[in-house]
């Protein structure tokens, strides 16, 4: 029987980071990844010879190399990746657009947002500054009970429109709760998105994953693809190992699961062990928020219509911004429009990419997918994508005739490829902030541990190994 000091379930960003950390100091570690590729929620696929990314719009937490304490730079040091060797492209300008009411632009220079607020919401300037002072002093990483971020923000910002505009990008890029979020999560996202900002690495997510995989292997880490975990095995209230889908039992001293909290619970086949892990039923821990995402490639003539200086547009058309599972299959009243080419030093390719994200209802998509009539699901996809394009036409102008390629994925697609229940990309609304579980040698890392985005996922893997595993050795 194979035995490892550390086993990691999941070869996404948090699993790879945890693996690099552990392997770096000469320890044997094995990552088991169910899919044939690394990346988890941030992976890629090929269609018609083109590489398309699954999740990545932009990476948050931009920091210049000299800011050594910034999360991004701390993270790279921990992974032993020299900051100067990674080429980063910063965003141009992003926009929060509530048509007919207000818009706010922001960039990686936080003063742009402050100036925009001063211009459009002059009565809120002082309140916004007071809120910033509180945010700057807040330790968002200390484990503490959940507090409503909406209540916190409302104590400062009396203007409800401004409040909703501030929440809109933060929710779309990390909100796992409906219409509110935990204050710590809000502050992590506020810093990551507004105060630090967006960037993309040179190349695609595949290059970033390749860099991480290479680093992991250089340190002697092992990874097995298409190797799902069937079951977590317990013995005397400890994790003794796992059984793979292929039936192999592998034992371990410690186990890190990046599969997600409800997803990890499903891996206990002994009911007593599952109950000990968590007494909460799955519908209490599964995230309810998922998305319909469409990827468009336009020909060059679309350049005349499309904004060249906008990186990401977060829009909302309705009277009240709603961030919850919609009653319909898709909520077209709000969304994210991302132009991955509109980062600095963009090479002018033969196509222009646009990605569009809307809130979507997992159950509606699942019913269509499971329908005996197999034409229903693709027809529903086509129908909603067309409706989405009409709404987009009003916001960025009609580019339908310039489309050379398009593809969409639904909450069901996300669930199938990432194993996240209900396609909940931001995971459970219950976060396990310290990563600990009932079992003293099982830890949760990744989305359900509560750090957000790509930098957050990587930091989550690093932190769990630093705090829990190194200390025990």
């Amino acid at each position: 029987m194979r035995k490892y000091p550390l086993l990691i379930i999941g070869g996404g960003l948090s699993g790879l980071a945890a693996g690099i950390r552990f392997a770096r100091f000469g320890q044997k570690v094995l990552i088991l990844e169910k899919h044939s590729k690394a990346g988890g929620l941030n992976s890629y696929y090929y269609r018609k010879g083109r590489l398309l990314e699954t999740g990545l719009h932009a990476i948050t937490n931009y920091a210049p190399p000299e800011d050594k304490h910034a999360p991004l730079n701390r993270l790279l040091r921990q992974l032993k990746i020299p900051r100067r060797t990674v080429k980063l492209r910063q965003q141009k300008t992003s926009e929060i657009l509530f048509p007919g009411r207000a818009n706010l632009c922001f960039s990686n220079d936080f003063s742009m947002l402050q100036l925009q607020i001063a211009k459009r919401f002059p009565g809120s300037v002082k309140q916004f500054a007071q809120m910033l002072t509180e945010i700057d002093a807040y330790d968002a990483f200390a484990p503490r009970p959940k507090v409503s971020a909406r209540t916190f923000v409302a104590t400062f910002l009396q203007d409800r429109l401004l409040l909703e505009m501030i929440f809109c990008p933060l929710m779309f890029y990390g909100g796992s709760d409906e219409d509110d979020m935990d204050l710590s999560q809000f502050i992590i996202l506020f810093r990551a998105i507004f105060q630090e900002g967006f960037f993309r690495p040179e190349g695609t997510i595949k290059d970033l994953l390749g860099l991480l995989l290479q680093q992991y292997k250089n340190f002697g880490g092992e990874i097995e693809f298409s190797s799902g975990v069937k079951e977590i095995l317990t013995e005397n209230n400890r994790i003794s190992g796992i059984r793979t889908d292929a039936g192999e039992v592998i034992s371990c001293d410690d186990l890190i699961s990046t599969a997600g909290f409800p997803e990890t619970k499903r891996l206990f086949s002994v009911p007593e062990a599952a109950a000990a892990f968590s007494e909460l039923p799955e519908d209490k821990t599964s995230g309810r928020l998922s998305f319909l995402e469409s990827i468009y490639l336009f020909n060059k003539s679309a350049r005349n219509h499309l904004p060249e200086d906008r990186t990401i547009i977060f829009y909302n058309l309705s009277e009240k911004f709603s961030y919850r599972r919609p009653d319909d299959a898709v909520d077209l009243n709000s969304g994210v429009i991302c132009f991955p080419d509109n980062f600095e030093r963009n090479r002018q390719g033969d196509t222009i990419q646009m990605r569009v994200t809307h809130l979507a209802n997992y159950e509606k998509w699942l019913h269509a997918y499971q329908d005996a009539d197999t034409s229903r699901y693709p027809a529903m996809k086509t129908d909603w994508t067309e409706r989405s394009r009409k709404v987009l036409g009003k916001i960025i102008g009609n580019c339908s005739e310039n489309i050379v390629y398009e593809d969409s994925f639904t909450p069901v697609t996300i669930e199938r490829f990432t194993s996240r229940t209900q396609g909940a990309v931001y995971g459970s609304s219950e976060k396990i902030k310290d990563g600990r579980t009932y079992f003293a040698n099982l830890y949760i890392a990744g989305t359900d541990q509560g750090y957000l985005g790509i930098v957050g996922a990587l930091l989550s893997g690093v932190t769990m190994v630093n705090q829990h595993i190194f200390n025990k050795m």
Partner: protein
């Protein structure tokens, strides 16, 4: 190991953690943390690297004794005697 050898190893480890660290102007009696602009995660790396190279266990309670280069050396002398 001699005092000078231990010092050399420590500087080498720090350089490895942060290749831009300014070791030339390091005052051995002052806190490393203030001079190098590093944080607790980086200091864990010094501990882990020493463990990897010399199999010495440094309990968390002893971390305060690693505050300056001099105090690190003093702490390590008896532990690296045979190394």
């Amino acid at each position: 190991m001699t005092i000078d050898e231990i010092k050399k190893v420590l500087l080498e480890i720090i350089q490895d953690i942060d290749d831009e660290a300014d070791l030339e102007n390091l005052n051995p009696a002052d806190a490393l943390r203030d001079q190098l602009d590093l944080d607790s995660m980086d200091f864990l790396d010094i501990v882990m690297e020493l463990r990897k190279r010399y199999q010495i266990q440094i309990p968390e309670a002893d971390y305060p004794q690693l505050a300056t280069l001099d105090s690190c050396v003093n702490y390590l002398i008896p532990r690296l005697k045979a190394a």
